[in-house]
Symmetry: none
Subunit: 208 residues, 4 copies
Amino acid sequence: MTDAAPRNPERNEQRRRQILAAAAECFQRRGFHSASMAEISKAAGMSVGHIYHYFENKEAIIRAMVEAKAQEVVDKMDELRRHPDVLAALVEKVDEGMAKQTERASAAMTIEVLAEAARSPGILGTLCESDRVAMAKMKETLIAANPALAADPRLLDGRTNLIAALFDGLAIRALVNPDFDREGLLAALRLTMQTLLREPPAGNGGTR
Amino acid sequence: MTDAAPRNPERNEQRRRQILAAAAECFQRRGFHSASMAEISKAAGMSVGHIYHYFENKEAIIRAMVEAKAQEVVDKMDELRRHPDVLAALVEKVDEGMAKQTERASAAMTIEVLAEAARSPGILGTLCESDRVAMAKMKETLIAANPALAADPRLLDGRTNLIAALFDGLAIRALVNPDFDREGLLAALRLTMQTLLREPPAGNGGTR
Amino acid sequence: MTDAAPRNPERNEQRRRQILAAAAECFQRRGFHSASMAEISKAAGMSVGHIYHYFENKEAIIRAMVEAKAQEVVDKMDELRRHPDVLAALVEKVDEGMAKQTERASAAMTIEVLAEAARSPGILGTLCESDRVAMAKMKETLIAANPALAADPRLLDGRTNLIAALFDGLAIRALVNPDFDREGLLAALRLTMQTLLREPPAGNGGTR
Amino acid sequence: MTDAAPRNPERNEQRRRQILAAAAECFQRRGFHSASMAEISKAAGMSVGHIYHYFENKEAIIRAMVEAKAQEVVDKMDELRRHPDVLAALVEKVDEGMAKQTERASAAMTIEVLAEAARSPGILGTLCESDRVAMAKMKETLIAANPALAADPRLLDGRTNLIAALFDGLAIRALVNPDFDREGLLAALRLTMQTLLREPPAGNGGTR
DNA sequence: TATGAATGAGTTTTCATTCAT
DNA sequence: CATGAATGAAAACTCATTCAT
């Protein structure tokens, strides 16, 4: 059973990663619903039943993926904040974020997870919680880039959400319009980031 | 049979709309895969088999929805372009777009469709084609707002895609972070739109 | 309704033939179960519902075909019996019978009908009755070829059944072994027919 | 999955036989199309889904039956050839063959399989291949009975096919005319077999 | 006569999950 | 730990037949 304490926690963790990697591959290829446990077990090199030693059910697999994805965002933010000029780093490194979000496999996975979240309360809960953590980290990073943003919480929230929406939306663009001009979009992205990070909180762009 | 010319095109069209409305409701509530044809038929007030007189299969229903959605965008763009000051209208009416995209039912539907497109070539094809049409319309509208944008096609493409990504992303935000501050986000959205529409094509924000 | 007396019997009969021809084509191509009434109605150039004016149901169509097929056999026998040398005609004309039975479309239809008869009592009844009539006619013809065969009813019955089995079996051969040597089979067929028709009723080939 | 090598081949084989026996019973009673998987699973004493562990689909079941049937013929031929006087054995044992072919259940099954083969390329392929093997075996047996038959391949092919057609046709007779005189038919069968096996290859019965 | 919209039962097949070994 | 046989509910889709027009 999943709740039994594993004899060997290390091996346990390795198995879980093995399953997650296999499942990610299957979900990207076929979607969450169409990827059968049999398929995943084959990709993971173990029996169907054995997967149930490590994950309570199929949903638990996707929940674990959501958490891993959020952790990636947190790590990225931590990395950016260690930069001497955080604002410049945010604008500069935007190409990496775009590349990651618009990579076909990653984009498909993102959308897959969202679709499942839209109908499974369990997954939605995990996703919301993960997003909450990631957003908080992002706000800290934005403040590190421009301390003036800390002055108005609503302004900060708005800009953070907008940036999040932007990156989420890139995954959709990659799916629907895969031949878009990457250089052109990158330029627009940098312009937008600069605006959102530099613009003084007061002025006609602020909260009325 | 679906391909037979209907005796009464009017009634036919009404039936199709009736089915699409019922299906939209079911898909939003339960997702494309989980919504059964039996459920849809009950919601539409007709028998299962009868739906197959109007749509070749379940996929054809979602394809019809994609086309209807794209038409909405096109109509919206046409409306905006009829405005005396297109640029101001674009910035001003951004609240309507945000409201529509972040409405729960609409957002769920958007994500549902995307998830299906990610694995069904037929739906993806319809979606890409619809997007192509909508994007072209959107470019015309941006040029109407600021003719200088027409000078650099890559810049125009980048900005159009960015705006599209932004609105697509709003649907995701609505799902994942439903309690975000709407006023704050609206302010950030207006600032971004102003920047992308006003900024001169030449300068450090253009295509390098 | 089918039982209503038709206003115009001629036109009625023409319609029935039209439907039977269309149905035969569909059954050969797709089998009785797979050929839908919609398909048949399209092939016949009339609406589904209209077919039900002429045939009570789908089974009635196949029953009409069985009767038509038996009539063909009867006609053929009558033709042969009008020949001056019936025995020689039977041996000689065996090639026509073989050609007809081994023609792909005809063979498929024969097997199709049999398969339906095997599971539908109604069709089986029609088929048995039709066969009874055809067999009686065939016996008359064999006696016309060799009057000595009339002496032993069991011998006559055995030989008639054997010839019937042989021709029925040709349809199966055509399906299962379509590349068989037609000349070789024809020679064997003639040899067999000669033996069965000429051999004296008494002797070691008779009923023990 | 069907393609996975079973852990326990013995048990696996037993299950397959169990399913085939149940399916044969159902197909005979109701026909291939009308016998539902639910019915078969009930007759086999296992769940519907479980049948799919052993057979890819419904068609695969009938294909396995075709192969088993062909093997029976091959075994029968081998048995006959081990006889000291093969020709006499062939003529003598004809009653067993007739009894088998005209048994109601067997006849229904034969016709059922043929009807499916007529429309399913997969089944037809299996059937043709099985028939090829069985026919080859039969030719060897005929040559063992009368070595002179080996001299003319077309004559041999013709006679083999005729005998095959004859036995195939018996199944049809049993269905359509179940009350035929068995003794009378047996006598005619023996006469025919003797003629086809003894007759010298040269003469007016050979290939012209 | 003639149409074809409408019905809904019935079919094959898939799949998450369990559990004896 | 590890396996994979076994379950059975549920889904998409088809089709003969009816009947209002």
